[in-house]
Subunit: 405 residues, 2 copies
């Protein structure tokens, strides 16, 4: 039984967070430095972007997580610390300052950056900001941290879920950012999870990988894969459950709760896609296997032509079939049904891969809602998957033609 | 020595063409049926989309070209004849009518369609149009045929080049269409070539494949791969050259001329990308191998974020490096230089994968021109390649949110 609760990343016992403006951005009302800390040492695991060009913080974080433990996360927005000469040096120095402020070792700090690639960066904002930020750490700091990691996001993204492991109440909290430059085949945008469950580093990594596969890796905004993305989880064990060290029932329950939180954040990210006016969900049913179902659902949810048609409230199902057809993999396109649904109802627009008469007015009404589901039934197996995206709008072009300005 | 000449698809000896409006479209001023015919039987070869969902005309054309010979091409625009119950029947009937009008066998007709997927289609426009169209066949009909295959294209695309094989003057002509739903890994949009050179079907196929690989497969407008794309070439041998039956010098000369014509049309297509205000060329140098160079150049030219930055005249080279980095393949991203150039000059914006000071005003001036080249030097080998794309504009969204209307 998974319940949604308040508190975000600070909902699990023993976690505090904070977020301030310290100067990475000119706009002083925009927070640009976030911290998340645990009172005690944590098991920790992460997944990273697959882009060959990677921000300096990723290199340092990978080193620091080699032992499977961490104590705090520090993350700035406004500058990606990527392709800068002094990037690695800055990332290491940031960890040292954060460790001093938190009373732990630099090797227990997870460092992340997000923002413009290839801009100059100095230590000055970190030097000014980290001591203040550490002082501001508090148990209701989740919202501030969630705000501080935002770039072109228009809303902050937080979640917390509670569940039981044996007799113990456990909690997972999370925050995420990501609006443009989001596409499958990376660890993810930025997503930070905390939990008071006790989980070994190995199983924490396994749970995170599964959750990311079915959540953040199923989100596409614009097909670009970023240089700085990572998903991180820290588990401090303060819930007092029996440490999860094998893939038994507790592990399944934990995975289910983590996936619930990750999918919630993934949907928030898709709905807040740059310029998006609608959340687009593609649900693929009866595919030969899970990977094929996931790939097809991503193809549809990330097709520029499908996205533009949804923006135009145009039930152009031929574009859906086209996107299904150019998906790599071994599956049949001979008997595909396409159904559109939303709060306004649902209507089949293609049956058996063939043109059929449907009510265009009703279809347009369905597409006028804020959350649209395109269901694709392949009639070619038992697997299913979902992917999340958004419509392609004038505002996407507006935002991305002037991002650095 | 390859020279550009007039005449388009009718420039080679013995070819005639025509284009009329016959009713696939409501707008009677828009031609929607094209024909290209040879006075004599031709060697012929084609490449097709790799989309699993394919228009009925492709199936019929593949059958008809199994023997490597053809006499005429018939192509309608406005309806893709894809996912229609009676699609294959209509495609076959179209070939029968065209063969009757041209005095040849239905198996010698190449049939193609382009337009909306999944709309109903009847024989009526073909029955009305084909006899009229056949009567209108003439040696200056290239422009009319080029107009009749256009969908959202804003300008018709024609080319003709002349070259010598031995003592004989030979000519290759071509027309193409394609504006949205264009992406590598398909044969191409629609491209029809004619030549009076004598070439065996096998070597004609080989020459076409090479030309398509370095031209149409290097064009990306929006990342979507169409259901109906094909590239076709017919060679009638009327130039009187010695039949090209092996990969000797004549074959090389022929390949070079065909590539010249194909690249010209590919650039026209990219420049006329839906909503495009600029032609974007990505030139990758010093890559480990040709395939890697081609893949990287396509990544950059098709990145939504790069395309939007070009539209915004913003020298956001970090997005270029990001697109290089998420390209699959084995190559180094440690020492990448990025140069922007256009009629306004050129400027290096990134050296050795690192931030460097550059003149932002000059860079914006360079990006304000109609044709922009982004050069990426990997310093990791000897191979190079080009890809063509366009900027991402408000008009792209406008066009594709209301395509069926």
């Amino acid at each position: 039984m998974i319940e949604y609760i308040d508190g975000g990343i600070c909902a699990p016992q023993g976690f505090t967070a904070g977020g301030i403006h310290c100067g990475f951005r000119k706009n002083t009302s925009k927070k640009d430095l976030a911290i998340i800390a645990s009172d005690v040492q944590c098991s920790a695991a992460a997944m990273y972007t697959t882009n060959k060009v990677q921000g300096a913080p990723l290199k340092v974080t990978k080193e620091h997580l080699a032992d499977g433990h961490a104590r705090a996360i520090i993350c700035n927005s406004g500058n990606a610390n990527t392709c800068a000469d002094n990037g690695e040096c800055i990332a290491r120095q940031t960890c040292i300052l954060t460790a001093e402020a938190c009373g732990c070792m630099p090797e227990d700090i997870i460092v992340a950056s997000t923002g413009v690639i290839g801009e100059e960066l100095t230590m000055e904002p970190f030097e000014k900001g980290i001591p203040l930020l550490a002082q501001s750490l508090c148990a209701d700091g989740s919202a501030k941290a969630a705000e501080a990691i935002m770039t072109t996001d228009t809303v902050k993204k937080e979640i917390a879920v509670s569940f039981k492991l044996g007799e113990k109440d456990c909690t997972i909290g999370g925050i995420a950012k990501g609006s443009g430059m989001i596409h499958p085949n990376m660890a993810t945008l930025l997503a930070f999870f905390t939990t008071d469950a006790a989980v070994s580093p190995e199983l924490l990594h396994k749970a995170l990988k599964t959750a990311v596969t079915e959540s953040f890796n199923q989100v596409s905004i614009d097909g670009d894969t970023s240089t700085n993305d990572m998903a991180v989880i820290m588990a401090n064990g303060l819930a007092g459950n029996n440490m999860i060290c094998d893939e038994g029932e507790d592990f399944s329950l934990f995975c289910e709760a983590l996936k619930e939180a990750a999918v919630y954040l993934a949907k928030c990210i898709a709905a807040d896609g740059e310029g998006a006016s609608r959340l687009l969900i593609c649900h693929v049913n009866h595919a030969p296997d899970g990977e094929t179902a996931r790939t097809i659902s991503r193809s549809v949810a990330s097709s520029s032509l499908v996205k533009a048609a949804v923006f135009g409230e145009d039930a152009n199902w031929g574009r859906v079939l086209c996107a299904v057809g150019y998906t790599p993999g071994d599956f049949s396109v001979e008997n595909v049904d396409v159904t559109l649904s939303s709060a306004s109802g649902d209507t089949v627009v293609c049956r058996g891969s063939r043109h059929m008469a449907f009510d265009e007015a009703k279809a347009s009404q369905i597409l006028s809602e804020k959350e649209i589901t395109i269901s694709v039934d392949l009639h070619d197996g038992d697997a299913h998957a979902k992917a999340w995206g958004c419509d392609l709008t004038f505002d996407y072009v507006q935002i991305n033609s002037a991002y650095r300005s």
